[in-house]
């Protein structure tokens, strides 16, 4: 599949080729069919990066406690703020001690798969392909899950008129990687996540392994024809989704999900997140032209009984890191051009509450992973803002020092080769922090 994604192609030529194909293909229909009319003027890049990554976007829904993911063990206020839910220092003798990352931050064992610190996301970190950004999030300080998620997914806060998602606008403003792709984007979900709204040839598919209208194979073509006719005059968005669905049925039927053997002995957890990433890996490797996938993982709203050492959040983090660790070994470590990002709507209060949990806060962590990511480090912009009460936002929360769009915009520009940052993140002027290679 490498050549299909331009990895080995040397690139100017590939880009010219792919543009040409795109133009030829569109001649039969009309250019308007590829670029929705609502898109503002966009620039067609003719200087693509040496390759163009596929992006897998992960949303950690519920407000992930970044202080339990990349734990600032060297900040003593971490321990004084969390009397029952702190991760022991890496140099302690506790069985549940953390795994040192850089002398200041550590992973809890849930993130490294085991006490030796050799599983989960640790191999990606060690190979410098995993970047952790700490004290990040969004500048808008809503503590409502639903507002905060919406603003993040849309890519611009507080604008009731913008309903497409940042990833949806990315796909809408770029020609397809494969000009004849039937399915460019997929949301592993029952409904399309806001992140992807506006994307052409994109469907929510909860389980790509079971995408069929059922019934007799003999009559299926006729029944599909009925549906195409019946929905031909349907209004958007029903029209496109029905049409895309009829096309995708045959496409996914040709993909062998059940017999798939992951590379490098990778083992995906049999969790909904693990199965979702496995399906995404299969789709990527089948080279059908998928260029964006949105995958969600819940369970981060840890108001009570958080227990990152052995309980609720431990299990969530372990699922998260083992699933992404498997995806790393299976896909990224094999050299495929794929970038993964993981974000959450906000972090949680620095001080734990009375239920051994934490309430809604502000700054948290985000992750970026790929061969094109300058990883193997925990990125903090400027000095660590600190967890002493006087350094906290409203006296309670880790400050947001990096807007998540700064990280995403650099990836969109340098890894996804999309020069239209003003379309993807309207009104935002990103500060590039050097997160890509």
């Amino acid at each position: 599949m490498d050549d299909q994604h331009g990895i080995d192609c040397g690139c100017e030529e590939y880009n010219e080729l792919s543009r040409r194909q795109f133009i030829t293909a569109s001649a039969g229909v009309s250019a308007a069919a590829f670029f929705p009319a609502w898109l503002p003027k966009i620039v067609m890049s003719n200087h693509y990066a040496s390759n163009r990554d596929i992006i897998v976007s992960v949303f950690m829904r519920g407000g992930a406690d970044g202080l339990s993911i990349a734990v600032p063990f060297a900040d003593p206020n971490y321990y004084t703020s969390r009397s029952t839910i702190a991760i022991p220092r890496p140099d302690s003798s506790a069985a549940t001690k953390g795994i040192n990352l850089d002398g200041f931050f550590m992973f809890p064992q849930a993130m490294t798969g085991n006490a030796a610190g050799t599983g989960g996301l640790m191999p990606a970190y060690t190979a410098t392909d995993l970047l952790i950004v700490q004290a990040t999030g969004q500048l808008n300080n809503s503590r409502s899950h639903f507002d905060a998620q919406r603003y993040m997914e849309v890519g611009k806060p507080v604008d009731p008129n913008l309903v497409t998602g940042w990833l949806g606008r990315h796909l809408a403003s770029m020609p397809p990687i494969k000009s004849d792709a039937l399915l460019r984007g997929i949301g592993i979900s029952n409904g399309l996540q806001k992140t992807l709204v506006g994307a052409p040839k994109t469907l929510p598919i909860a389980d790509p392994t079971k995408f069929s209208i059922g019934g007799s194979d003999a009559t299926q073509p006729q029944r599909i024809a009925f549906l195409q006719g019946d929905y031909a005059a349907a209004e958007e968005p029903m029209h496109s989704s029905a049409l895309d669905a009829t096309n995708t049925v045959a496409l996914l039927k040709s993909v062998n999900f059940t017999g798939y053997v992951p590379a490098n002995g990778a083992v995906y957890p049999n969790s909904s997140f693990g199965r979702a990433l496995r399906s995404v890996a299969v789709l990527i490797k089948n080279d059908i032209g998928i260029e964006a996938a949105q995958v969600d993982i819940g369970g981060w709203d840890t108001h009570s009984g958080q227990d990152p050492l052995a309980g609720s959040m431990f299990n969530t983090m372990r699922d998260f890191s083992n699933s992404l660790g498997a995806f790393y070994a299976d896909v990224i470590a094999t050299g495929l051009s794929v970038t993964v990002v993981a974000i959450s709507e906000f972090g949680r209060n620095v001080r734990e509450n009375g239920s051994q949990g934490t309430d809604h806060g502000r700054g948290t962590t985000m992750l970026a992973m790929g061969k094109g990511i300058k990883g193997g480090r925990v990125l903090v912009k400027g000095a660590w803002p600190g967890l002493a009460r006087e350094n906290l936002e409203q006296g309670q929360d880790l400050k947001v020092t990096v807007d998540y769009r700064d990280i995403l915009a650099e990836i969109v520009q340098n890894r996804l080769a999309n020069p239209n940052l003003g379309v993807v993140f309207p009104t935002w002027t990103p500060t590039m922090l050097g997160v890509t290679r």
Partner: protein, 534 residues
């Protein structure tokens, strides 16, 4: 669009929603230009014309126009979802529009009823739900799903999986076959409004659904909110039972304002959340699901919520400490933001995804005039002027499944298969884990059309006396034309769009006219675009 509740960012309380910190770059200020909705539709039409054989574009032309909700208002700048989908031209009767809106699926019997009672008479009939005899359905439920009438103590000892299954299956059955259809529609609405995750609360949800949601679905909002605030299930779901005076848990205090009463822009601050969480300390659950106030867990200090100060009390007040919270519930119930928030949300559920300012004001006024009488609000919303002019709404998967049962008059002996199907359709009951409830947005559900087609295929083949049976005898009794006519009457209230009629007829006639072909045609009718809307 026209999200009036969100328009006043400045009103949004002390979250101090600053828009952006850095100055927007003028060059990047996007020309995310208007009027995108029209363009979206236009784009769709273009693609359709290009890709598909030329069928049925006349239908789009014949679709009714939706009048702008406030004259002279252009669609707002930006990219709009296409949520104002005009009704099919065939949907020309206000009476059948009403049946579609107040039921979970049109049937010939309901059409006949509205025709004999008239629009207003039928609405009154459905509103006075307690006068509708529903004993047949309730008797069946009592026999098939006996745990549903049990107390928490009994449910605690019952098999947890059994409790979950019975709750889901009985809810499907009641929604499909209760004569009190508007009551079911509103129970579904409040079930989302006070959403809880069955995985987290377990058997406690049985009592919440029965004694909070269904009991008050067409009653007073004040009673409903108070019942919810005293529901063991809600306390557990939003961690109120884990809140302590020494360290309050803010989860319930936040959501009761954000989701249950004021709305996110209703004028409360993070500080109000913190203070209300202190007021509510002591509200908890004991035993196997009994709500109690525990004075020893209450924070007796002085608090100020929404500008109202509660003076410091003392532990000697004991049970009287709960009055602080009761006072706050009354404050929330009578708050003008609550009237607007509930009015807007009910308008979206019953009338239009984009209610106008006039509509919101009228329904909020009905709320204030009647102390939150839900029937009065429904009456204000479903008037004979607004409803026929309203856009269509997309059935959510649950609604879709239930309407398919109603339209095919399926004989449901066991609802287990149906409940499992809801998982594939994307809306297993009581499984939405965040407190905002299942979305009621076209753009969320529209992409997920294939599982509906798949379910239609499956259900059209139901023919089991122990699970579900769809009887096709009547469809096979005459000609293919008569069969499609019958589908029109049963599934579409006699208002099947022409494109669907032609498609079904040609499919049916292209094969041997037998049970297999008829069932496939029924599946296609259920899969058709027009069946997805109400």
């Amino acid at each position: 669009m026209r999200m009036t509740t969100r328009s006043g960012a400045a009103v949004s309380g002390n979250d101090e929603r600053q828009d952006e910190v850095s100055a927007p770059d003028a060059e990047q200020e996007p020309a995310l230009t208007r009027p995108s909705r029209r363009s979206f539709v236009f784009f769709g039409a273009l693609a359709a014309a290009a890709v598909l054989p030329g069928r049925g574009s006349a239908q789009a032309v014949r679709r009714k126009r939706i009048a702008p909700d406030s004259p002279g208002t252009e669609p707002l700048a930006g990219i709009q979802p296409n949520e104002m989908v005009g009704a099919f031209a065939e949907w020309d009767s206000g009476a059948t529009r009403l049946v579609r809106r107040v039921t979970l699926g049109i049937t010939p019997a309901e059409v006949q009823r509205v025709n004999s009672m008239g629009y207003q008479g039928y609405l009154n009939y459905q509103l006075n739900s307690s006068r509708i005899d529903d004993t047949a359905v309730e008797n069946t439920i009592a026999a098939k799903w006996p745990l549903m009438s049990q107390s928490s103590d009994t449910l605690f000892s019952a098999d947890a999986g059994q409790v979950q299954n019975q709750l889901r299956e009985s809810t499907i059955y009641r929604s499909a076959f209760s004569q009190r259809q508007l009551h079911q529609r509103m129970a579904e609405f409040w079930s989302d409004h006070f959403n809880q995750d069955l995985d987290k609360v377990g058997y406690l949800l049985v009592g919440d659904q029965r004694d909070v949601v269904r009991k008050n679905a067409l009653g007073k909002f004040a009673d409903l909110l108070k019942a919810s605030a005293h529901s063991a299930s809600m306390m557990v779901y939003l961690d109120q039972n884990a809140s302590r005076n020494t360290a309050p848990n803010q989860n319930y205090a936040r959501e009761i304002m954000e989701l249950h009463t004021l709305g996110v822009d209703g004028g409360y601050s993070q500080n109000d959340v913190a203070e209300l969480s202190r007021v509510l300390t002591g509200w908890t659950v004991i035993g196997r699901g009994q709500f109690v106030f525990r004075p020893e867990l209450h924070d007796w200090g002085s608090k100020t919520v929404l500008g109202v100060t509660i003076p410091a009390g003392s532990p000697s007040l004991g049970q009287d400490g709960i009055k602080e919270g009761e006072q706050m519930l009354d404050l929330l119930i009578s708050h003008p933001s609550t009237a607007r928030f509930i009015a807007t949300k009910m308008l979206k559920w019953l009338l239009t995804p984009s209610p106008s300012e006039t509509q919101i004001a009228a329904v909020a006024s009905a709320y204030r005039a009647t102390n939150g009488d839900i029937k009065a609000m429904v009456r204000a919303i479903l008037n004979e002027t607004w409803l026929p002019a309203s856009p269509m709404k997309l059935k959510r998967p649950f609604h879709f499944l239930v309407s398919a049962m109603r339209s095919t008059n399926a004989n449901v002996t066991s609802a287990t298969t149906l409940s499992n199907s809801l998982t594939n359709l994307g809306q297993q009951l009581f499984a939405w884990d965040t407190p905002d409830g299942y979305p009621d947005k076209i753009e969320y559900w529209a992409g997920n059309v294939l599982p509906r087609w798949s379910f239609a295929t499956t259900m059209s083949n139901f023919n089991s006396t122990t699970t579900v049976a769809v009887d096709t005898t009547a469809y096979r009794a005459g000609s293919p034309d008569a069969a499609v006519d019958l589908m029109d009457q049963n599934f579409f209230g006699g208002e099947m769009p022409l494109v669907t009629r032609n498609g079904l007829l040609s499919y049916l006639k292209a094969g041997t006219f037998n049970d297999t072909r008829v069932r496939e045609t029924i599946a296609l009718a259920i899969s058709a675009n027009a069946f997805q809307w109400y």
